[in-house]
């Protein structure tokens, strides 16, 4: 089972290390971790995707809460949240393949952000399925390089975590 945790932390140096050490020491598996400052500059927000059953999730949540610099931990795995990830994908491209790649990019409502003689770089935003989908289709052209941000998520509606 995958869970998405929204973790509000003090925006201080060293907090990421504390979280990372906690996960590695207790043997929890992180699928992805994205972090950035929030509307309040003293608070950063981490979106952590962890793998594990309910017992693991409960332990992860409690252990995170024990960190002094962690302000709040919320499980937002349910349908009541919107989730996005951004990926940049650099594919091999030449005059012969370029138009085919552009078609795929259109279908996925992705964007081309760099074009060169032998390559194209594509920006795609979406949920995991979409990113895996475009990656698969583009792989036949040859993916030179790829980077993903990891998932970020917000709850739906007016309520916040």
């Amino acid at each position: 089972m995958k869970h998405t945790l929204a973790v509000l932390v003090e925006n201080k140096s060293g907090v990421l290390a504390r979280v990372a050490v906690l996960f590695s020491r207790r043997g929890y598996n992180i699928d992805s971790l994205a972090v950035g400052v929030t509307e309040d500059p003293t608070i950063s927000r981490m979106t952590i995707v962890v793998r594990g059953d309910d017992h693991v999730l409960e332990q992860v949540t409690k252990q995170l809460n024990k960190l002094i610099d962690v302000i709040k931990v919320t499980d937002i795995s349910s349908d009541e949240s919107v989730e996005r990830e951004l990926a940049l994908i650099k594919v091999t491209a030449d005059a012969n393949t370029r138009s085919e790649i552009i078609q795929i990019v259109d279908i996925f409502r992705a964007r081309i952000i760099d074009v060169a003689a032998k390559s194209m770089t594509i920006e795609v935003t979406g949920d995991e399925e979409k990113i895996v989908g475009i990656e698969q289709l583009l792989s036949s052209f040859g993916i030179k390089e790829m980077v993903r941000t990891g998932k970020v998520a917000l709850t739906r509606g007016i309520k916040s975590v």
Binding site: V9, E10, A17, R18, V21, Q59, K66, L67
Partner: protein, 563 residues
């Protein structure tokens, strides 16, 4: 912030902060980056005890904290000084001991350059501190020290490290000590949820075979009298963990002594047959539970703990109550009724008679258990600090403790070398008490250099070396599980502990035959001097009973050696 501010250096502010926190003693060792602080300590009011190894400073701060309930303080220089604290910090962390460890650090501008004596001590201690700080600027020092003491001493207690770059101690700041801490990420739950408490009370009144399993948390929360009132009201027998020893009077009718690997048979049997396990301030350590799937198989599990992360960590908990043991027990006792436990108490009482702790004494050789009994007889209200090994288990088994904070031992980490420096800390904190360090010949050699500290500062602790010429606990396992192949566990013949004591100016005594045991104990107590007693004990005595690793706790063996 309140009051007028005053301009001073970080080093001076450090001293001021300690005084605001009511710190009466620091265990420390100087070095280059600490020169500004040591210069302040030269004529400061706070007592500083110079140890001979920084590990001893950390253990002494820990022993002081466990003996007094106050927060222990140690101080070490950057690099090797700081890394020497690590074992002591980890020891305190595993047993949830309130401690603030201060370290010097290279100047901020040099951090990250592999400067002389630079070590990333906040990085190193991340997983073994409750929290730690690298002080960025002198102005932050008072707030950080305030927070450090607050975090160390509240909630589930533990060590906090404060790393102070040299420039932080030399820069000037406008000093004022904050009155309150503001930590939005730290709000320990103190009072148990009343609904849960009432639910627990109902569950208790339905139980016919309850057992209370009490750990070190009862002592940390100063909840011994609440535990006694609770146990007597519901009429449930009480077993304690190693670090919970003293939380409940050992001589009480309801006491089952210690449980687990070297616990009493009757405690382990009671756990296995109980229908309700009331766990208080304990954490289901593997040395307690044995094979975890077979632990307390018939029992509903209730768990009272200040740390929510302990609930259902190792064992599924049916009735959790998160809160401070003292508060929760007081409120539970109010709501609870007596269990229908008459038959159960009778049954457990029969086990106590049928399966007592026992050993075969000898006229010829000194049995280690006999020494413990003799120390108990000579001075039953002594503070007993131990090292780690067989001697530690005998102390836990054969000394009957009536009060908390009288038995001080490294439980979670099992740190050899802990005993002597921790005894120093205990004696400094409780000068009114006779303090014994029950030491192994192996363990004592890990910190025997502290003889210099006790002699120089006239700290009269009594080190009782249980000299079996072996790393006995490991030898015991080799005997039982590795066909008597005593690989690198024989340490006999190397040290004359009497001469060692004398070389440092301490009193050295020896007992080699049973009749000599009591006289040397009495002599050591009467001397009022730092003393080492070399007890030449039966070499291959085993700790009994014993649950082999991986077995259920009722699969407990007698290992008693006839001689």
């Amino acid at each position: 912030m309140t009051g007028a501010t005053e301009k001073m250096t970080g080093a001076r502010a450090f001293i001021e902060c300690l005084s605001k926190e009511g710190v009466e003693v620091i265990f420390g060792y100087p070095g280059g980056v600490l020169l500004p602080i040591y210069d302040e300590l030269y004529d400061a009011d706070v007592r500083h005890i110079l140890v001979r190894h920084e590990q001893a400073a950390a253990h002494a701060a820990d022993g002081y904290a466990r003996a007094t309930g106050k927060t222990g303080v140690c101080l070490a220089t950057s690099g090797p000084g700081a890394t020497n604290l690590v074992t002591g910090i980890a020891t305190a962390y595993m047993d949830s001991v309130p401690m603030v460890a201060f370290t010097g650090q290279v100047p901020g501008s040099m951090i990250g350059n592999d400067a002389f004596q630079e070590a990333d001590i906040t990085g190193i201690t991340l997983p073994i501190t409750k929290h730690n700080y690298l002080v960025p600027e002198a102005v932050e020092l008072p707030r950080i020290i305030k927070e450090a003491f607050h975090i160390a001493s509240t909630g589930r207690q533990g060590p906090v490290l404060v790393d102070m770059p040299k420039d932080v101690t030399t820069d000037e700041l406008d000093f004022s000590y904050p009155e309150k801490v503001e930590l939005r990420g730290y709000k320990p739950t103190f009072n148990g949820n009343l609904l849960q408490v009432k639910k627990a009370a109902q569950e208790i009144s339905r139980s016919t075979c309850p057992v209370i399993y009490a750990g070190g948390g009862v002592i940390s929360s100063d909840a011994s009298s609440e535990l006694l009132a609770f146990a007597e009201k519901i009429m449930a027998p009480v077993t304690t963990t190693l670090t919970g020893i003293g939380a409940f009077p050992g001589n009480h009718l309801l006491s089952l002594g210690m449980l687990g690997m070297h616990g009493t048979k009757y405690a382990n049997y009671a756990i296995q047959e109980s229908d309700l396990l009331i766990t208080i301030g304990a954490r289901f350590d593997d040395r307690v539970t044995g094979k975890i799937e077979s632990f307390a198989p018939n029992a509903r599990v209730m768990h009272i703990d200040i740390d929510p992360a302990e609930i259902s960590k190792n064992v599924h908990v049916d009735i959790p109550i998160v809160g401070d043991a003292k508060e929760v027990l007081a409120s539970l006792t109010k709501h609870v009724m007596k269990c229908k436990s008459e038959n159960w108490i009778k049954k457990v009482g029969e086990w106590k008679v049928k399966y007592p702790l026992h050993y075969v004494n000898s006229d010829e050789f000194i049995k280690p258990q006999y020494i413990i009994e003799q120390i108990h007889e000579a001075c039953e209200d002594a503070i007993i600090v131990t090292d780690v090994g067989q001697h530690q288990m005998w102390a836990a088994q054969y000394f009957s403790f009536k009060e908390p904070r009288m038995f001080i031992t490294s439980g979670g980490l099992g740190t050899m070398g802990y005993g002597f420096p921790a005894a120093i800390g205990a004696k400094v904190g409780r000068p009114d008490k006779v303090v014994f360090d029950i030491a192994g010949d192996g363990s004592f050699q890990m910190n025997s250099q502290e003889l210099a500290t006790v002699v120089e500062n006239d700290i009269p602790v009594i080190v009782a070396v249980f000299n079996n010429g072996y790393l006995g606990m490991v030898r015991q396992w080799q005997e039982l599980f590795y066909e008597h192949r005593y690989s690198h566990t024989c340490i006999s013949g190397s040290v004359d502990f009497v001469k060692l004591a004398e070389a440092y100016g301490a009193l050295g005594l020896r007992a080699a035959r049973p009749p000599e045991v009591r006289p040397v104990i009495d002599e050591a107590i009467a001397s009022g001097r730092p003393t080492v007693i070399d007890f030449i004990v039966e070499r291959e005595e085993n700790v009994s009973p014993m649950v082999p690793a991986g077995a259920a706790i009722n699969e407990i063996l007698d290992l008693e050696r006839k001689s």
